[in-house]
């Protein structure tokens, strides 16, 4: 009896998750009347805007990861080493992006960094790019920090550091050569999660008016019928790829995947 209910829950749930995927794939193949074809994909992939926005978002995602690592790894390390009492505070700050909706944060950016402010970042394209990058790093902060902090918790940071210092290593060497390689698995899993979040991000990019993949998808969705489905399949494949690699890495490095 119990088993019947379990299977019922799993099959109904599975159906709910599978149908949209099948529906999207089927829809994306329907472009040519009366037969299935890859026309929608061809149309998307040959679109110069697709290539431009997709590569823009890929670059932004990679930069986000770099910025995230630069901010998170030294901080998490330093807090564990020297300021353990500050950990709750840091943790609280890193969780804030889950509390404050992204739309509110970017609204604040527009107000704070407009052309008439002290730091007129939105005045130039490169300034706005930088602002968007920082916004993305903010979005990724909770995941990145939790991943790295979990990774560090498996190390005896203090002993490792003291051992390295007694051998005459400097700070850059300690962090770059000792800490980073040891939490690489955690950093990578945080990185791929960040990648998956940033690549299709819509709200920030749209409100800052940057030519990113998210707004492009939305625009295409408003104007075309079949191409959006093809885009959804591509985006889903990218997400799957990121999460798949992340799971693989965390299995290889034996670190826990931070649950979202």
């Amino acid at each position: 009896m119990k088993r019947v209910w379990s299977w019922a829950a799993l099959i109904l749930g599975g159906l709910y998750f599978l149908l949209p995927l099948i529906g999207t794939i089927e829809f994306s193949l329907r472009m040519r009347r009366g037969e299935y074809s890859l026309d929608a994909y061809r149309s998307v992939l040959s679109d110069a805007n697709f290539r431009a926005t997709f590569s823009y978002s890929v670059v932004m995602a990679l930069l986000t990861i770099v910025l995230g690592v630069l901010i998170v790894v030294p901080t998490a390390y330093w807090v564990r080493l020297r300021l353990p009492r500050l950990r709750p505070v840091i943790e609280f700050i890193t969780l804030l992006p889950l509390v404050i909706p992204a739309i509110v944060v970017v609204f604040g950016y527009i107000r704070l960094y407009n052309t008439s402010s002290v730091l007129p970042l939105t005045g130039t394209a490169s300034g706005t790019n930088l602002l968007l990058l920082c916004g993305y790093a903010t979005l990724a902060l909770p995941y990145m920090y939790r991943a790295v902090d979990t990774g560090l918790s498996t190390l005896d940071v203090r002993s490792l550091t003291e051992a390295a210092q007694s051998l005459g290593a400097g700070w850059t060497r300690i962090i770059g050569r000792l800490i980073l390689p040891n939490v690489l698995g955690a950093v990578m899993s945080g990185a791929f999660l960040s990648f998956a979040i940033v690549i299709g991000e819509f709200t920030m990019a749209a409100l800052l008016n940057r030519p990113a993949f998210g707004p492009y998808m939305q625009l295409l969705g408003a104007n075309r019928a079949y191409e959006p489905a093809a885009l959804a399949v591509i985006a889903f494949a990218v997400t799957w790829g990121c999460m798949g690699v992340m799971q693989l890495i965390s299995r290889l490095f034996g670190t826990r995947i931070p649950a979202k």
Binding site: P20, G23, I71, W78, I100, P101, T239, M243, G244, Q247
Partner: protein, 282 residues
């Protein structure tokens, strides 16, 4: 003293970053919510939130969030319980968890496309239901661009999130608790009512709060799905930022402030409940 000073220097970049790109922008909005265009303190903006249009947008937003969080919790719980204690083969768990990890991050524009392709007017399921069973769901009053359509779509990331969070909690229920209850004479129902559910309750309520905040702040899915035809709070705010549709920029700040309050309360509940849950789970 000098040592403390140097120690602080180590986390200065982090604090600078958090201040510049998280705290100050948010503070700016919060302060803006209490200022009139001349920069003087006022409650007028918050009072403006009581206009019927904004009240109804908050109402529908909260309704969608509550519905998707509640259903997400129930369905996610059922699926997690089926895997953890339902007697299905053990190999099902790993793929379900992996899929949940992916699906909980599959929000935004592509998710909207997927549901349009499935349950839109010419979507796969819509067509099949009509062809196979003669059921026209749109004639029956269903509309993807509505409260239920949005809720159904949000469930695609809400259920997996619930599964990800509640599975470890369910696994934390020790077999011995069930056996101890049984041998003391308790029925299965009594065990669940008196032991298992009270132990899970903080996790359940906490996850509910998290799911609520998760859907309350979501913009992209709703925007790509409905355009601006369904005026939930984030979409209204989005339109306001783009084009000042409220004809009062400071009313926009008040709306954003309202969002922070709602998600903040939801997350506060989450934190409190999680602390309680962890106290028991030692």
């Amino acid at each position: 003293m000098r040592q403390i000073g140097w120690n602080w220097l180590g986390i200065l970049p982090f604090f600078a970053f958090a201040l510049l790109f998280l705290v100050l922008p948010t503070m700016n909005i919060v302060i803006g919510a209490f200022q009139n265009p001349q920069g003087q303190f006022t409650f007028d903006n918050l009072a403006g939130l009581t206009s019927p249009r904004i009240v109804s947008s908050f109402a529908i937003s909260i309704k969608v969030s509550l519905a998707s969080a509640l259903l997400g919790c129930l369905i996610g719980f059922a699926m997690a319980a089926a895997v953890v204690m339902g007697g299905v083969p053990g190999w099902i768990k790993a793929p379900l968890m992996t899929f949940s990890g992916v699906a909980s991050n599959f929000a935004g524009v592509p998710l909207a496309f997927a549901f349009i392709a499935t349950l839109g007017r010419v979507g796969l399921v819509t067509m099949l239901l009509r062809q196979w069973f003669g059921i026209n769901i749109y004639a029956l009053g269903f509309n993807l661009l509505s409260f239920w359509g949005l809720t159904l779509t949000y469930l695609f990331f809400q259920i997996p999130l619930m599964i990800l969070i509640i599975t470890p909690a369910l696994e934390g229920l020790k077999r011995e608790w069930r056996e101890a209850a049984e041998v003391l004479g308790a029925s299965t129902g009594q065990y669940w009512r008196m032991v298992a559910l009270p132990i899970l309750f903080p996790s359940l309520l906490g996850t509910f709060a998290l799911l609520f905040a998760n859907s309350f702040g979501a913009v992209a899915t709703a925007y790509a799905l409905t355009g601006s035809s369904l005026s939930i709070v984030p979409i209204m705010l989005f339109a306001q930022i783009r084009g000042d549709v409220l004809q009062d920029p400071h009313l926009g700040y008040a709306m954003a402030f309202g969002m922070i309050v709602v998600t903040g309360l939801a997350n506060l509940a989450y934190v409190i409940m999680r602390t309680r849950a962890e106290r028991w789970m030692r």
